[in-house]
């Protein structure tokens, strides 16, 4: 008999884990709350560091899950812990008896309007990283040539007052990538990145930074934007401190892109409440062990993959998905082989 594995969340983590579990011979049931699979990846245009197409990357992941039972627009209605397995009732009326559950509920983007001083939702020129990706994807960038564009790193990240002291890991590289991309579209515009420190930790990320400086002439200003206001002629006036020269700084911009960080997803929290899953101070789920058992929760047979245990890059997420599949395989073999 094939063991049933329930995977919650159809983003990159859920897709990659499902594909691997299917290959290991399990009967995988994947549920996704949205209409389409792919999570945030489906909303992105190009990916750092090489600028590959998000769509093509997603398509490659989708190809791998053919044969998996995927239910979109489906959520977990309720879930009970049985003796050895989980009884899950889905919102489409189907009941699943699962021997293991993988939570891949990912993240929600920080709501940029919460940082009111940046004027998101108030000034038209203020957009988020996700809005810019959508504009690239839908080819809906403003046709009027902007003179100056700014990027604000760490919006809702490393910000205790905003409720998120953690670094969101991907925004630095995303900001630098997007800065280069807008400069390609508007070569005459001045492009500024307001950063606290650049965390270009991954392979080729530092190259991206160097390219942004040398080839695109992006100006990096070390200092957090303090406030955004409108000028008399309808542009955005941005204030920050240039902390490298310890001087207050002012610049007028036409577009300001806020790099909204990662928060635990609301849909993940709903699952967490049903099973009393524990979270750490940052709001993300706590693994059984932060070094050796990241994929395991404290509940036997309940596993995690991807950003539900903290901000992650796409490759990190895919690694976790594969590693979760191996962990689940090990668990099932240990738990169910004695019969």
């Amino acid at each position: 008999m094939k063991n049933n594995i329930l995977v919650i969340g159809g983003g990159p983590a859920g897709l990659e884990a499902s594909a691997n579990l299917k290959r290991l011979g399990y009967n995988v049931i994947l549920i996704e709350k949205d209409k389409q699979l792919g999570g945030h990846l489906a909303k992105w245009d190009r990916l750092f560091p090489d600028g590959v197409s998000a769509r093509q990357t997603l398509n490659a992941l989708l190809e791998e899950v053919s044969g998996v039972n995927c239910f979109t627009e489906t959520q977990l209605q309720s879930i009970n812990v049985l003796d050895k397995s989980y009884n899950a009732i889905l919102s489409n009326g189907i009941t699943v008896l699962a021997d293991a559950v993988l939570l891949a509920s990912g993240f929600d983007l920080f709501k940029a309007e919460k940082k009111e001083e940046y004027g998101y939702g108030i000034y038209e020129g203020v957009i988020t990283n996700a809005d810019l990706e959508e504009a690239f994807r839908e080819k809906k960038l403003p046709s009027k040539q902007p003179q100056a564009i700014g990027f604000v790193h760490c919006v809702g990240s490393r910000d205790e007052k905003a409720g998120n002291p953690a670094c969101s890991k991907v925004c630095c590289a995303t900001a630098v990538k997007q800065a280069c991309e807008v400069k390609e579209v508007y070569p005459d515009a001045d492009v500024y990145c307001f950063y606290m420190d650049l965390r270009m930790f991954g392979r080729h990320y530092e190259d991206l930074y160097l390219k942004a400086q040398k080839e695109f002439g992006i100006r990096f200003i070390r200092g957090r934007v303090s406030e955004v206001a409108e000028t008399a002629d309808g542009r955005l006036q941005v204030k920050a401190e240039d902390t490298l020269s310890s001087k207050p700084l002012r610049v007028s911009l036409d577009m300001l892109v806020l790099m909204a960080g990662m928060r635990p997803s609301e849909s993940g929290k709903t699952v967490g409440r049903q099973l009393n899953l524990t979270t750490e101070e940052d709001g993300f789920f706590s693994s059984a062990d932060n070094l050796l058992e990241i994929q395991r929760s404290k509940l036997p047979g309940f596993f995690y993959a991807g950003a539900c245990t903290g901000a992650k890059t796409l490759p990190d997420t895919l690694h976790e998905a594969r590693s979760a599949a191996i962990e689940i395989d090990r668990y099932i073999k240990e738990k169910f082989s004695e019969k």
Partner: protein, 108 residues
């Protein structure tokens, strides 16, 4: 004028809207590596002249980007062209050539 017992000092705020971009573009053409500075401070730390006179290539580059030309030139006045900063720069910026180029474009 009536003396109120105080004076108004000029704003020290950087206004990027009024930066002379043409000169900086000309400098970047002459020495493209000026764009590569990541403000690590190796140049200033190794600078012999800075022990006697405020001298810093890093701060000079930043001042030019912020439109403070006088300040940039002041920060290079003490330079003796010893080239230690060129040796230590992790981005491989030819700082000697950069300093000469700054003098060419901004010097009087």
């Amino acid at each position: 004028m009536i003396d109120f017992g105080f004076s108004v000092s000029p704003s020290s705020r950087i206004n990027l809207d009024s930066v002379d971009r043409e000169s900086f573009a000309a400098l970047a053409k002459l020495e493209p590596d000026v764009l590569k500075c990541m403000a690590c401070g190796s140049c200033s730390a190794s600078c012999t002249a800075s022990q006697f006179e405020p001298t810093s290539v890093r701060r000079a580059i930043l001042s030019l980007q912020n439109g403070q030309v006088e300040q940039a030139l002041d920060l290079l006045k003490g330079c003796m062209m010893c080239g230690k900063c060129t040796m230590v720069c992790p981005r491989g910026i030819n700082t000697r050539h950069l300093i000469i180029s700054i003098q060419k474009i901004y010097g009087k």
